[in-house]
Amino acid sequence: MAETSEAKPSPSAPGGDAGGEEEKRDERMLECNICLDTARDAVVSMCGHLFCWPCLHQWLETRPSRQVCPVCKAAISRDKVIPLYGRGNTKQEDPRNKVPPRPAGQRTEPENNSGFPGFSFGEGFHMSFGIGAFPFGVFTSTFNFGDPRPSAAPRGTAQYEEEQFLSKIFLWVAILFVLWLIFA
């Protein structure tokens, strides 16, 4: 309905304005579905929806566990979007390889910091615990997950995600083990 009324030049506007109207409509078709501006570093999802890569990236980061297309809620991910290259673009660089302007870090300190001076969740993860009583003395150990490893995969690749996932699993296993030690 809106299409037909838009296609006709309005009576007040002379014929020369019709081109401008058409141009405006073309522009609207290339608007990012998130910021509503003309999409820059445009990517299109498998379901056909257009976004700026920085906008879509921010949305994917907002809900990493449930990545869905903002328009149709189809499954979506970094690897399931296609970059679009217009003609004017001389250096055809994949927008996904540019680091998008990321939101500022928003980490909060964990609340249950009491009791265990040996725990610190600062930069990386350092944990050491020692229990003085005789039979447990042997368990005294130090975990150190925070060391930068030279072989770490670059940020954003599938390998990086997997490594993060594994490291989280090990972290939880360690926490469960400690809890078991305390309560068992």
Binding site: N33, I34, C35, L36, D37, H49, C55, Q58, W59, T62, V68, P70, V71, K73, P103
Partner: protein, 151 residues
């Protein structure tokens, strides 16, 4: 201008130019403070809310549109509806869990109009008095349980 303000400005322009039927935005107030909008809504003719007038308040954070707006009914006429609490809080999934940055003030207004229009019986939610006494001022802090898809 921040990206969220830029988008709100665009939305305000289009909502003032082409509002959905029965919906008007207080443009002066919204353009003075882009993070707080008041929207007037009329009950759709032929529904239980015909002839009634409601006021909706939208509050936006600087993370909009990645973060959903805080939407409540305000003023002295809060619609009597099974999903609207007497303090103005609305139980509507797109306002929290199902929010998407492709939604807009206009689409939220349309959803609320449609939620009201499909109502078969004017009544408050069953847990109204308990919820109103115990809830946070911000409806987004409520852990909503979306179970009734009929209205």
């Amino acid at each position: 201008m921040s990206p969220s303000e830029r988008r709100l400005q665009k939305e305000l322009m289009s909502l003032m130019k082409e509002p959905p039927p029965g919906v008007t935005v207080d443009g002066d107030q919204a353009s003075q403070n882009l993070t707080l909008w008041t929207i007037h809504m009329e009950g759709v003719p032929g529904t239980l809310y015909e002839g009634e007038k409601f006021e909706l308040q939208f509050k936006f954070t600087n993370k909009y549109p990645f973060d959903s707006p805080e939407v409540t009914f305000i003023g002295n006429n809060i619609p009597v509806h099974p999903h609207v609490y007497s303090n103005g809080h609305i139980c509507l999934s797109i306002l929290t869990d199902d929010w998407s940055p492709a939604l807009s003030v206009q689409s939220v207004c349309l959803s609320i109009v449609s939620m009201l229009s499909s109502c078969k019986e004017k009544k408050r939610p069953p847990d109204n008095s308990f919820y109103v006494k115990t809830c946070n001022k911000n409806p987004k802090k409520t852990k909503w349980w979306y179970h009734d898809d009929s209205v």
